[in-house]
Structure formats: C-alpha cells, structure tokens
C-alpha cells in the first residue's frame, strides 16, 4: 500500500480523504469543523482521529492540502478596457482559485482608491495594455496603488514594456511586489496560466501564514493551492483524461455554496455554426467563475436581488412576503436549516435561481444582429449549449433531494440568448473528492482520473429543458 492523505481546509469543515495509490482506492474519509479562529490544527487532528477510527493507523507517504478557510483567497483585478485586459485579469484570478471582490478598468479614481482601502484584498492583480501597447494607464495605476494603505501583495502582469517601471513605482509603497508575464500579450490572446501560477505561489508563501494556517502547514507537506484551483484541476483532468486514458469530454461543474456560486466549464465552446461571428476575448478551455453575490445563506439577499422576489415566490409557491422574510432570515442567520416543507421549497427556489443566474453569467450569449448583409449571429463567450455533462458539488446541491428538478429548472429559466446546456446528465460529487483529486492531478493523474470515474463518473439523473 502507498497511502497519501489529502486535506481540504474548508470554510466550515476540514475534510480528509485517504487514498491508496497502488490499488488505487479511497481508504476512507472523515471531516471535522475547521478551527481557524483558535488553531487550525485542532480541527485537522480531530478529523484525523475520526479517519483513523475507521481505517486504523496508516503510514502516509505524503500529506497534501488545499484551503478555502478564513474566507478563501480574495482578490481585486485591475485592467485597462473592461472587455479586454480587465476581463483577462479576472479570468486569471478565477483560474487561480480566487474570489474577485472588485474589478477596476481604466485609471483608478479617488472613489476606486477609497473602495480599495476598504476592501484590503489578499492580492491585487494589476494588468493593462498588450505588450508594447498602452503603458500610461498601468503606470498611473501603479503609482496610485503604491500609495494605497495596506500591505497586501501586488502582482504586476500587464504590458511588458511598462513592467519594470511599475515595479519601481510600487516598490516605493508598502506592498510586496510580484511579476508575471502579461495576461494578454497580444490582442485577443489570453495568457493567464503564468499569472495564476504566481498567484498560487503568493498564496503559499504569504496568504497561508496571514490567515493563521501556518500551524497546519508544519504538519503537512504543504498547502498546495486554494480549494477552487484544486477543483478546477480535477475537472480538467476528468474532462481531458491523461495521455493513456481518455476523459469524459466537455463538462460543466457547479458548486453552490452558502456564500458563493462557482461555475466551471471545461470546453472550447466555439460557435456551433460557421456563420456565427465571434465577438470579444476568446475564453480559456478550463474556465472558472465565482458569483460573490449568489449564495444560499450569506448571499441569499443577493439571489433575491438578482432574480427578484416575485420569481422566488413563483418558484417556491409561496407569497412574496414570506419569501422576503425567509431571505432576510437566511442572510442574517447563515446557520439556518430549512425547518419545514415551506422552507424547503424556498431553499429550492433559491438554489434554482443561484445556479441559473451563475450559469447564465458564466456561459456565452448568442444574439441576432442586423447587418447590411441581412441578419447574422454574434457569439460572445463560450457556447456551452452542446455540453451534456454536469458535475455537481457543494453541500447545498449534493444533499438536495430534488437535485434533478433544481438543475432542470435552472436550465429552463435561461434567456433565449444564453448558451447554457439544454440537457445534461448529472454526476454528483458525494464524497467531496474533487478537491482531493485535484491535489493528486499533477503527480498522480492516472490514479485521480480512475477514482473520479469510479466514484463520480456515473450519471445519477438527467435534466432536460
């Protein structure tokens, strides 16, 4: 046996998965409350004790972890044009497993600086200009950020020609400075992986300590990455496979949580028809987005703002007053569990609305435009309408009794222009193994793929519009 221990320090639970690499098989799993406030290793030890009670004592050859504890990784992204380098910066941050609290475009204003001072992100990503292109705005922004209060790190990944000067400006301030190659070196060409990798390194070096996870760090071989980055790696592996074994092909991942809704897609999403015109920045094969305003509890109000109380009332069969009262209750008391059938219905309405809205924001759109040559179609973002597989993770959906209905309604409630799937087989990450498998993906891809296919690769339900 070659045992390896995989740990996910979540915001609420610390989850362990023990894997035997040689079989391969999952030896066992266990969880305990995350104890960031006191000492993160207490929760870990408790979970370990539970695991050993089930598996007996195991000699692990490695212990690897990911973390979304203590609020995860919060970033601010700065770029030049909203649809170009600002968007590229956002995509890089999402790909690194971060939550993007705020995105800025063009010159940072006094008002932006006041916001930034309040936000105090874990990392600020500063982009702008293609290589050899506009340097005026990124230099202006670097100078402003240099005098911004705080000691959060700043990662410069913009116009190569302005990089050295940006670093020089920033070094006069209180922020540690890092650099990465431009997220958009040429027009409409994304290069987000290198910046995402540097974000991960900053996370390892600094954020883990800053968030009080340093103690756990010593018990382990390393906290390798933010949890969402691990999930993205796992889904990519599940979709693409390894050199020797094929993956499942195009797929979407949905993670509905208490505070956010994360959507992943592993698909090229190119136009289905050759007569469709592509507009805007091409998006990455493995794309992740986070909706920081959509969550079942901490952001129930955000869901209501996004879809309206009337829609929630209609979906739940309750009246608007009841819905509004429940939403406020959830928002102020995030530990709320649905007490009765009425509340379960309202939770269902919240879940449908959060997933539906997050999917629509993640996927591209197809619009009919009128030109001198007659009507044509314009696509922005990815066409996911042909994707037929959805992997569901996160407690709110995994334990939902009516998962199939929730997903079906979420797909049905889309605008006609949304390029979201029309039908899909649902796979469910019941054992919370995705993040664990993401930790294994780089070093033991074949094992991770095998286990994912065995454990979550089975279609449990089918949702069709």
């Amino acid at each position: 046996m070659r045992a390896i221990l995989l740990i996910d320090f979540g915001s609420t639970y610390t989850k362990l998965t023990a894997v035997d690499l040689s079989a391969p098989r999952v030896l066992g799993s266990a969880q305990a409350f995350t104890t960031v406030a006191s000492d993160i290793s207490l929760g870990l030890e408790q979970a370990l004790a539970r695991l050993e009670a089930a598996t007996g004592h195991i000699q692990y050859e490695a212990r690897l972890a990911c973390s979304s504890a203590a609020g995860g990784l919060n970033m601010v992204a700065c770029g030049l044009v909203p649809g170009l380098t600002s968007k590229a910066a956002r995509l890089a941050a999402f790909g690194a497993g971060a939550k993007v609290i705020r995105t800025f475009a063009y010159q940072l204003t006094d008002e932006d600086m006041a916001q930034l001072a309040r936000i105090q992100p874990d990392i600020l990503l500063l982009c702008g200009g293609i290589d050899g292109g506009n340097s005026e705005v990124i230099l202006h922004n670097a100078a402003r950020i240099a005098s911004a209060p705080g000691d959060y790190p700043v990662l410069v990944a913009g116009n190569r020609a302005a990089q050295a000067e940006c670093v020089r400006l920033l070094e006069q301030g209180s922020h540690p400075v890092y650099t990465a190659p431009n997220v958009m070196p040429e027009m409409n060409t994304l290069n987000i992986e290198p910046a995402a990798e540097v974000i991960r390194q900053i996370f390892l070096k600094r954020i883990i300590l800053a968030k009080g996870l340093g103690r756990a760090q010593r018990l382990l071989d390393g906290i390798l990455m933010p949890t969402p980055a691990a999930v993205l790696k796992a889904l990519r592996l599940l979709s693409k496979g390894t050199g020797d074994e094929a993956g499942l092909g195009d797929l979407i991942g949905v993670d509905l949580g208490g505070a956010t809704t994360d959507i992943y897609s592993i698909a090229r999403g190119e136009p289905a028809s050759p007569t469709t015109i592509m507009r805007g920045l091409p998006e990455p094969l493995a794309k992740r987005t986070v909706e920081g305003d959509l969550g079942m509890r901490y952001n129930a109000l955000g869901i209501q703002e996004a879809v309206g109380a009337a829609a929630l009332a209609q979906l739940s069969g309750q009246d608007e007053d009841a819905v509004q009262a429940y939403v406020v209750h959830c928002d102020s008391q995030p530990e709320t569990l649905p007490g009765d059938e009425t509340q379960r219905q309202m939770d269902r309405a919240l879940a449908i609305s959060a997933v539906g809205t997050a999917l629509a924001r993640h996927a591209g759109t197809l619009e009919r435009v009128y030109t001198p040559m007659g009507p044509m179609h314009e696509q922005r973002g990815k066409d996911l309408s042909q994707v037929r597989q959805v992997v569901v993770t996160g407690g709110a959906l995994v334990y939902a009794m009516d998962l199939q209905q929730i997903m079906e309604q979420a797909l049905r409630r889309q605008e006609a222009t949304a390029l979201t799937p029309r039908q899909a087989g649902l796979m469910v990450d019941r054992g919370y193994i995705l993040s664990a498998m993401g930790l294994l993906a780089d070093t033991h891809g074949a094992v991770a793929l095998r286990l994912m296919k065995d454990i979550i690769g089975r279609e449990e339900a089918y949702a069709a519009v």
């Binding site: 380098t85 050899g132 958009m184 001198p372």
Partner: protein
C-alpha cells in the same frame, strides 16, 4: 520607435484576402500590426487601439457599405480618449457611379485623415503613414 497600427475590415464584410495582404505589407514595412481580421465592429477597433496604444486605425471596406459602417467612428475615438489618432480608410468605398472625389470628401467630413480609392496598392498607404507619423 516602432509604430502600431490597428487593422481590420469593418462591419459585416467578409472579404479577407486584401486584409491579409495589407497585414503582410504593413508588417514588412516595419509597423507593429494588430490585425483584427474581418467583420470588425467600431468598438473592437477602438478597444484594440486603446490596449495597444495604436498610432493609427486602418479601416478597410470592400462590400459597398463602408459609409454606413464608418459613421461615428471618429466621434467614438474622441470619446474613448484616442484623441488625434490617425484614421485611414480604403477598399471599395465607392458604390455605383459616384465620383471618387465626392466620396473622399464625405469620409474626410466623417473625420478620416486619409481616404483611398478602389485599387490603391498597400504601398500608397505605407508612404502616407510614414509621412503622417514622421513627426509623432
């Protein structure tokens, strides 16, 4: 310093061959060409010019709807902070039997700096760019 051009065929126009030739010719002449290809909207020209800090926007129109497609481009450039950026247009911008001089004037009134008639070779554009960008 190397000058940057944003190049593309405007509107719903799919004529791709001339665009490839211009891309090649301008690059060969020493310009940094940000080529957006065919079916380029005004917004795409402008956003690319901002990110690339372009010195000029070179618009082609071959299919006969150039006037319609080009209207308001200069105003939008001004609005986007691309003050004084060089704007060229060329291709089949004359439709029917109109005299070229009248067409040229209409494009100049729209804010284009230079207007090239049908059959203008890339070299004419290159010479004009060298002249117009010499003192910038």
């Amino acid at each position: 310093m190397q000058k940057t051009l944003v190049l593309g065929v405007i509107g719903a126009d799919v004529h791709a061959v001339g665009n490839q030739i211009l891309n090649y010719a301008f690059t060969d002449a020493g310009f940094h060409v940000v080529n957006l290809g065919v079916m380029v909207s005004q917004e795409e020209f402008i956003e690319a010019a901002i990110e690339s800090a372009a010195d000029a926007i070179i618009v082609s129109s071959l299919y006969g709807h150039g006037e319609l497609d080009c209207q308001g481009l200069r105003d939008k450039c001004d609005e986007a902070g691309l003050k004084g950026i060089l704007l060229y247009v060329g291709g089949n911008i004359v439709v029917g039997k109109q005299p070229f001089e009248e067409v040229r004037q209409r494009f100049l009134d729209m804010g284009f700096d230079r207007v090239f008639g049908p059959g203008t070779p890339p070299e004419a554009g290159i010479a004009a760019l060298r002249e117009d960008l010499a003192d910038r």
